[in-house]
């Protein structure tokens, strides 16, 4: 079986996902093109050799609809012969794009592919693509549909994370992200978003609040308490987990992932294609896996999929030097660490989506870049990237530096 190598990874900065965010003026297409064009330029690709461009996007409607990957490939100058496909596995779409690209190479059918993702949450809006899951009784009822924040609160309640626990985790995410920026740890991956004249629109993650502390977070009201009580989701949570007497609503905007705009792209290929193009591999995709998990808890998939992946790869968690668990909500990461009995020493060492933001369809691909950069910086070998996913799923990938 051919190996899948990662030759490069780029991402845009993450703009605040609101009309006052810097990237609000940039279309989804523009974001995707920024990442794809940078990848092409940095690696001296003429475009023609790329077998496929796979982009994750969670709300692929309106300007992000109709196969944005094909549009972005053409617009980024890859040439008409380069196809594109948009995929959607909710929050792991970006990582699944990388995995799908790796799978094409491992199967020997493709030689050079791009995996990535794009989301303009400020322009398209979370939930814009609709879908049966929350609304159609045929799936909402048997899957115990709840808004993700209520599921996150259920995780916190069931596994005993207090408001202080989740807030303390959020403060640390902010501090770590601030340090990472100070020490330019993201510099290798970041591609500024520029206007038609070459003027920089944004070159820095703008969701961060480095001054966040326990006091400032304590002032925030829980985001999901009212909704959960009024709309019946508390009852849904309790019927799914009857050991829970009463939900404790601990999550709020300050300890949940930020809503942001952004895009990312990762270049993958076989060893031979790299040699032909004179590219130096930075990492190898060792293994990846997907899983469905209990849908009411919804966001514990990283635990299940990591167990599955480690077994498949014949590894244990102690073989992993660096772990990126997407910070969808603080409790997701806390539960991951609790389930494996590990501390935060090698988990999200440069902060995560609580500080930096979570551009849904792009985040997974961004985390691959973040992990490679950190492995290279710290001289370590192996990283695990995993994300929790709506409707109860998990995706995980193990990469190792070469």
């Amino acid at each position: 079986m051919p190996e899948a190598y990662i030759y490069d990874a780029v991402r845009t900065p993450r703009g605040r996902g609101k009309p006052d965010g810097s990237l609000h003026e940039v279309s989804s297409l523009g974001l995707a093109v920024t990442a794809l064009a940078a990848l092409k330029e940095r690696n001296g690709l003429d475009g023609a050799g790329v077998d496929d461009v796979i982009l994750g996007c969670v709300d692929p409607v309106g300007e992000a609809g109709g196969d944005i990957a094909r549009a972005a490939a053409i617009s980024a100058g890859y040439g008409y012969e380069v196809p594109g496909v948009q995929i959607n596995r909710f929050c792991a779409s970006g990582l699944d794009s990388v995995n799908f690209a790796a799978a094409q190479i491992m199967s020997g059918q493709h030689e050079l592919t791009i995996g990535g993702g794009v989301e303009s949450m400020s322009r398209v809006g979370i939930g814009a693509s609709g879908g049966a899951w929350p609304v159609d009784p045929a799936i909402a009822i048997p899957s115990y549909f709840m808004p993700q924040g209520v599921s996150a609160d259920l995780i916190a309640t069931k596994y005993g994370f207090s408001r202080d626990d989740v807030d303390a985790y959020a403060v640390q995410s902010q501090q770590r992200a601030a340090r990472a920026w100070e020490e330019k740890r993201f510099a290798k991956s970041i591609v500024p978003v520029k206007d038609v004249n070459g003027l920089t629109i944004l070159d820095r993650d703008e969701h961060m609040r480095p001054s966040t502390d326990m006091q400032s977070l304590a002032a925030l009201k829980p985001s999901f308490a009212f909704l959960a009580e009024q709309a019946g989701f508390d009852a849904v949570a309790i019927q799914a987990h009857p050991d829970v007497e009463k939900l404790s609503h601990v999550h709020h905007a300050g300890n949940s992932s930020g809503i942001v705009d952004g895009a990312a792209a990762v270049l993958l290929g076989s060893r031979e294609v790299g040699e032909r193009h004179g590219l130096k591999p930075r990492a190898r995709v060792r293994a990846f896996a997907n899983i469905g998990s209990e849908p009411a808890l919804m966001l514990t998939g990283p635990v299940d999929v990591t167990k599955k992946l480690l077994t498949k790869a014949g590894m244990s968690l102690s073989d992993i030097d660096l772990i990126e668990v997407n910070e969808a909500f603080a409790a997701v990461v806390l539960r991951f660490m609790q389930a494996f009995g590990i501390d935060d020493g090698r988990v999200n060492v440069n902060g995560g989506a609580i500080a930096l933001g979570h551009p849904l369809g792009a985040t997974g691909a961004m985390l691959i870049g973040t992990a490679i950069d950190e492995l290279e910086r710290s001289g370590k070998a192996t990283a695990l990237v995993t994300l929790c996913i709506g409707a109860g799923m998990g995706t995980a990938t193990i990469i190792e530096r070469v």
Partner: protein, 735 residues
């Protein structure tokens, strides 16, 4: 036209008047014959060029109660027969066509081309209101007695003749779903403001107003048949839809624990129907209706909550030869919570009540309780100030037994203590004499022994009300060893006057309902000791279909009372009659921790002065071990709660405490809220199948103890392939 159930006449103005007036029935109901005749009328209106349109009215005081439920029940039986004879697919096809017949008929009326207007007075419910919704104009008599609505959900069905589709196109989706979920009956003003009817009018004008709609050129076209129609809440897949549907699905689960397929079918029908053209929406609704009509839950609920309940209320077990008793005046001994409740419901039924207690102050306290109850009704708009005055005037609170003179019935509701009961019985009988029927409201003491303190034990009967009396619909009429048919008949007549539902129970400890309930509560105690998290015990019970968890229930009853009953049973019947785990739990709570339940603010729950109760963390001391909650089989917990009660109910039947499965079923639902979707304790067993139920009992008995052991008679039934309704149903009917 040759019509039996209707009169049809066309006026000079070209407007036909169709008067629904079924012979030999006090209330119009939808039957196959009614449907056939209505179809003829629709054809005639559409065909006859002289007819401009048609007004539908009723020749009776009320419009109609809807479809004949026994007709629906029969169709399910016929389906089962057709499956045997023609195979599943053919039978299903035939059943589906039958199930949508009424829906197609109404649609035919709606699209016949000429206007139909309907004039409604009195109740117009279910299928009859669906007829109204298919008419192009609806006029309601603005009277107290006029009520419209779609209550099908209450017997495990849902409006399947276009009701879900039309309501969802007339009202905002959220409000439409609430109306369909609750099965609420609306008064005229509310029906009008909800947009379900067009006009309110004085009763004597409704037909003229309906006629005027047609004369003035009203069109025979429903809003949804007009080009460009948009339902009030817009599209399902829209931001507006996102505001409604996730919450609707969640609230469905909150309210039903996903135990009521008919409620879910409402969601499906509305959700799917709103995305379709009207006729396709009707077809999808019919698919769900056919599905629900064949459901075990609908069959069980129709039988227990409609047919059996009605039969019991009409006196299925009343000795027939005894002439009906009249109640102008009764005496109630004991003005405590129960006595006041009995006095209140009696006065509400128009009976003069003498409410007696040991002194005037105590008696007045009872009357104050009644005042509070009726005042609550007034503030909720369910009674007027005049009603309240009249009701209170019917209640005489006194310590003077002489005032009992002339009473038609005495109800004793004093402390559960033999001495006190004997004394008040004697004092009352000194005034009223030995021939007046004497009823004790005891919940624990055997009637046979209490009767011994009476001058004539044959005139002594038990009438066991449930608390709170004004809310609980069930009454157990207890027949002691010497109780005469006249005493039983009088008790049943009294219950009927109070508009409650009686079951007749032979005299044993705990009678029927409390025996089952005791098993339910005890199972919760045992789970605590097994290490099941208390929250899981409570929620699993409610998921099983019980109205409250066992720990909550026991807190309401009071733990010291449960402890007293436990000790009394042990004293009377010996160690073997009580459960040692139960003893351990109650001893710990009451003797060791002084936790008596809600009454002292601490039981299994803590009851803070403000805010919600929460489970007492100290309960963990009762757990023998700590279990991983995710390893506990919640389905098995649910099953234990229902099986332990159903097995006890079966024992009461085999022991002759109850004699008719209908009474066990209706009694279990109305008396202690046994999972209504099962149809009651014995329908639950029949639904599972006797042999399968015995197998469940065997498995649970092996794992959890002898309390789950199947009675020998049940094993015998399983061997013979008998069900309760098969074995005892016919016999009960013959009696």
């Amino acid at each position: 036209m040759n019509l039996v159930n209707f009169r049809f006449e066309t006026g000079a103005d070209g407007v036909a008047l169709l008067t629904w007036d079924m012979p030999d029935r006090s209330m119009n109901v939808i039957t196959f014959e009614v449907m056939d005749e209505l179809e003829k009328v629709i054809d005639e209106v559409a065909r006859n060029p002289e007819i401009k349109g048609c007004v539908i009215a009723s020749g009776k005081a009320a419009f109609s109660g809807g479809a004949d439920l026994s007709m629906l029940q029969k169709s399910a039986v016929e389906y089962a027969k057709a499956v045997r004879e023609q195979g599943e697919e053919a039978a299903m096809k035939q059943f589906f066509e039958g199930a949508r017949k009424l829906s197609l008929l109404y649609r035919k009326l709606e699209t016949n081309g000429k206007p139909f207007a309907i004039a409604i007075r009195g109740t117009c419910l279910g299928g009859a209101f669906e007829l109204a919704l298919a008419c192009h104009y609806r006029v309601l008599a603005d009277t107290e007695k006029t009520k419209v609505g779609l209550p099908e959900i209450k017997v495990g069905l849902f409006p399947g003749a276009g009701g879900t589709q039309r309501v969802a196109r007339l009202m905002q989706t959220g409000e439409a779903l609430q109306l369909l979920f609750k099965g609420e009956q609306l008064k005229p003003a509310k029906a009008k403001s909800a947009g379900l009817v067009h006009e309110l009018a004085p009763e004597n004008e409704i037909v003229d107003r309906a006629r005027a709609f047609i004369v003035n050129g009203g069109k025979g076209k429903a809003p949804w048949d007009v080009e460009g129609f948009k339902p009030p809440s817009g599209r399902v897949y829209s931001p507006g839809g996102m505001m409604v549907w996730p919450a609707a699905n969640a609230i469905y689960r909150r309210e039903t624990f996903d135990n009521y397929p008919a409620a879910k079918a409402i969601l499906h029908s509305v959700f799917e129907g709103l995305q379709l053209p009207f006729d396709l929406g009707l077809r999808v609704e019919a698919r769900w209706f056919a599905h629900i009509l064949r459901s075990r839950q609908a069959a069980a609920m129709i039988r227990s909550l409609f047919l059996s309940k009605n039969e019991l209320e009409k006196g299925a077990h009343r000795p027939k030869e005894i002439p009906p008793a009249k109640f102008a005046k009764i005496g109630v001994l004991g003005a405590g919570f129960m006595g006041a409740g009995v006095a209140y419901v009696s006065a509400l039924a128009g009976i003069e009540v003498v409410l007696i207690d040991r002194d005037q102050e105590s008696a007045d306290k009872g009357k104050a309780v009644i005042d509070k109850l009726v005042s609550g009704q007034v503030s909720r708009g369910r009674a007027t100030a005049a009603d309240k005055e009249a009701l209170l005037a019917r209640v005489t609170a006194t310590a003077d037994y002489d005032k009992l003179a002339g009473a038609d019935l005495i109800v004793e509701a004093v402390f559960e203590e033999r001495g006190v009961k004997a004394e008040v019985t004697k004092k009352a009988q000194e005034v009223v004499g030995p021939d007046v029927i004497f009823a004790s409201n005891t919940s624990t003491l055997p009637i046979t022994s209490l009767a011994e303190t009476s001058l004539k034990p044959e005139n002594f009967v038990g009438i066991h009300f449930f608390s709170p009396v004004e809310k609980m619909l069930l009454v157990e009429v207890i027949r002691g060893k010497k109780t005469s048919d006249r005493a039983v008949a009088t008790a049943l007549d009294f219950v009927r006057v109070l508009k409650k539902t009686p079951i007749v129970v032979n005299d044993t400890r705990g009678f029927y309902a409390n025996r089952c309930v005791l098993n339910f509560v005890r199972e919760g105690h045992i789970m605590l000791t097994e290490g099941v998290p208390p929250a899981m015990i409570e929620t699993a019970a409610r998921m099983a279909g019980m109205p409250v968890g066992p720990l909550s229930l026991n807190d309401e009853i009071a733990l010291d009372l449960a402890w007293k009953i436990h000790l009394a049973t042990k004293k009377d019947l010996g160690e073997a009659a009580v459960d040692p785990t139960q003893e351990r739990v109650l001893h710990f709570m009451v003797e060791q921790e002084g936790r008596l339940g809600r009454k002292n603010g601490k039981g299994f729950y803590d009851y803070p002065a403000t805010g919600k109760k929460s489970l007492w963390p100290g309960l963990s001391a009762l757990a023998d071990k700590t279990l991983d909650p995710d390893e506990i089989d919640v389905e098995e917990l649910k099953q234990r709660f229902l099986v332990v009660q159903a097995a006890e109910a079966a024992r009461t039947l085999f022991e002759g405490v109850v004699t008719d499965p209908r009474e066990a079923d209706v009694g279990s639902i109305l008396g202690f809220g046994f999972a209504p979707f099962t149809g009651g304790t014995l329908s639950y067993i029949d639904g599972i199948g006797t042999a399968a139920f015995v197998a469940i009992c065997d498995a649970l008995a092996q794992k959890y103890g002898e309390r789950f052991a199947a009675p020998a008679q049940l094993r015998e039934m399983a061997k013979k392939g008998e069900s309760f309704y098969g074995r005892y149903g016919a016999q009960a009917k013959a009696a």
